[in-house]
């Protein structure tokens, strides 16, 4: 087990109304009568800057900036040690505040909160008994809430789970409507051929052969439709992802066509096709071929 040294903070959320002053945003030196004494600044203060913010603020690696928690004071000199691409996180999608990453001791000192932390993450080595660790930490850190990352993710994902179910319901309704539409198409398609089919029955083609033939045809048409739908879905997904990744400047994937979705879509399409074909065929075969071919 080791403490994670780099800890992403959204500083204002940590220190309430305190501002983060970074490089170009700092007040000119003419007004900088109140400068943070060097003795109060962490030595070798460095920070990582989120890429989008770095681009916006014109920051580069190695650049010197001032970092502080009070807007009326010039902060501590710091070096931009790196620029990072934040992990794609839908919950941060519309966040407007920039993010930087500092070493935890530096941050604590900057905020004058040494020995305090609202929250921190612990990365464990593979094979660690996480539950035992959680229990141990909870017993030692009085008043602290020790939770597994999965639980945090679960809590944060509640909204997305609701959205996902909503999408699933829409998908189901769409597929049901599509299935009904497909059944109608198949009935019409088979009805169109009722005369030649009747002729085949009159010539001695068995019902079993015709049912097999027509149902197979319906299943193939459906499978083809399903495959086409999947291809359109893939294309639409790619377009949606490109558009929103561009709009929000993120690597977040907004739409995914997973193998499971493909499998389900094709399976459902074939099942619906089989059902539609069977309904249409049985409906057709319930009529005497002489009625269909004309007496």
């Amino acid at each position: 087990m080791r403490l994670r040294a780099l800890f992403p903070f959204r500083l204002p959320s940590l220190v309430g109304s305190a501002a983060v002053l970074v490089g170009p945003l700092v007040a000119p030196s003419a007004y900088a009568a109140d400068v943070t004494p060097e003795s109060e600044c962490p030595a070798d203060l460095e920070l990582l800057v989120e890429r989008s913010f770095a681009e916006e603020a014109g920051l580069r690696v190695g650049e010197r900036v001032h970092l502080g928690s009070q807007p009326d004071k010039v902060g501590c000199p710091a070096t931009v040690a790196g620029i990072y691409e934040p992990k794609a996180d839908p919950s941060k999608l519309t966040a407007e505040l920039p993010r930087v990453i500092l070493h935890l001791p530096h941050l604590a000192r900057l905020l004058d909160r040494v020995g305090e932390a609202d929250r921190f993450a612990i990365r464990t080595w593979p094979g660690t008994d996480e539950e035992a660790l959680r229990r141990s930490l909870a017993a030692q850190l009085t008043g602290a809430q020790v939770v597994h990352t999965d639980e945090v993710i679960g809590r944060a994902s509640t909204t997305f789970e609701v959205v996902r179910r909503f999408h699933r319901a829409i998908g189901l309704i769409t597929l049901t409507a599509g299935g009904a539409f497909l059944a109608c198409i198949m009935i019409l398609k088979i009805q169109e051929r009722r005369t030649p089919i009747a002729a085949m029955r009159l010539l001695g083609t068995s019902r079993r052969t015709l049912v097999g033939w027509l149902v197979l045809e319906a299943a193939l048409v459906s499978a083809f439709g399903g495959a086409l739908g999947v291809a359109i879905g893939q294309l639409a997904s790619a377009i949606i992802n490109r558009y929103y990744q561009w709009t929000y400047d993120t690597a977040l994937v907004f739409s995914i066509v997973t193998p499971e979705i493909v499998f389900r879509a094709l399976g459902l399409a074939v099942l619906l096709g089989l059902a539609a074909g069977a309904i249409a065929t049985l409906r057709l075969l319930s009529v005497h071929p002489l009625e269909e071919a004309g007496r």
Binding site: A199, M200, R201, L203, S206, P289, R295
Partner: protein, 216 residues
Amino acid sequence: MDVHRSYRLQASTVEAVRGVTMQVDSGDFLAISGSSGSGKSTLLHLLGGLDTPTRGEVFLAGARVRDLGDRQLARHRLLNVGFVFQRFHLLSMLSARENVELPLSEAGVGRRERRERAAHLLERVGLARRANHRPGELSGGERQRVAVARALANEPHVLLADEPTGELDRANSEAILELFASLNEEGLALVVATHDMHLAEGARRRLELIDGRLDG
């Protein structure tokens, strides 16, 4: 034997065939004529096991039609009876050769033999060069000849034709009559329901139906 067939049409009952007794032997060429609605097609359907009589019995190639189940009857028709319809009823998405192969395929004939027999039959009806054409690319007379080839695919005992020249011009009707006569000379039994007096006169035996009863 003493075959009757009636239909319910809304509130009334139509007696299409009334007590007909007849026999078709091998080598026969029988024309059934009569005015429209006289019951010609119904009698033909009864003869071929396409329809079942309301009363009386029909024997088809030694089997009593009433005793055969749906599948058995379909198989019996497939192997023993050839049908030619007024409107051809060819499958438009299949070529002439494939249409002829269809009953062979249903009868379980192997692919190679199917091909050979279909080719031979199309040659027999004079359409060897049109084998790969679809029905939409053929004239009415050619379509009917494909239908005849299809009807002959499984070497049936009898060929039943319902108004086979009804949609054809004089020249094509003549060609069909010649084809029928030639097939009959080879020993095939033919029963033709027709309005076409020229075709009827070409048959060896003629029966006339008047209001569902045989006349003469």
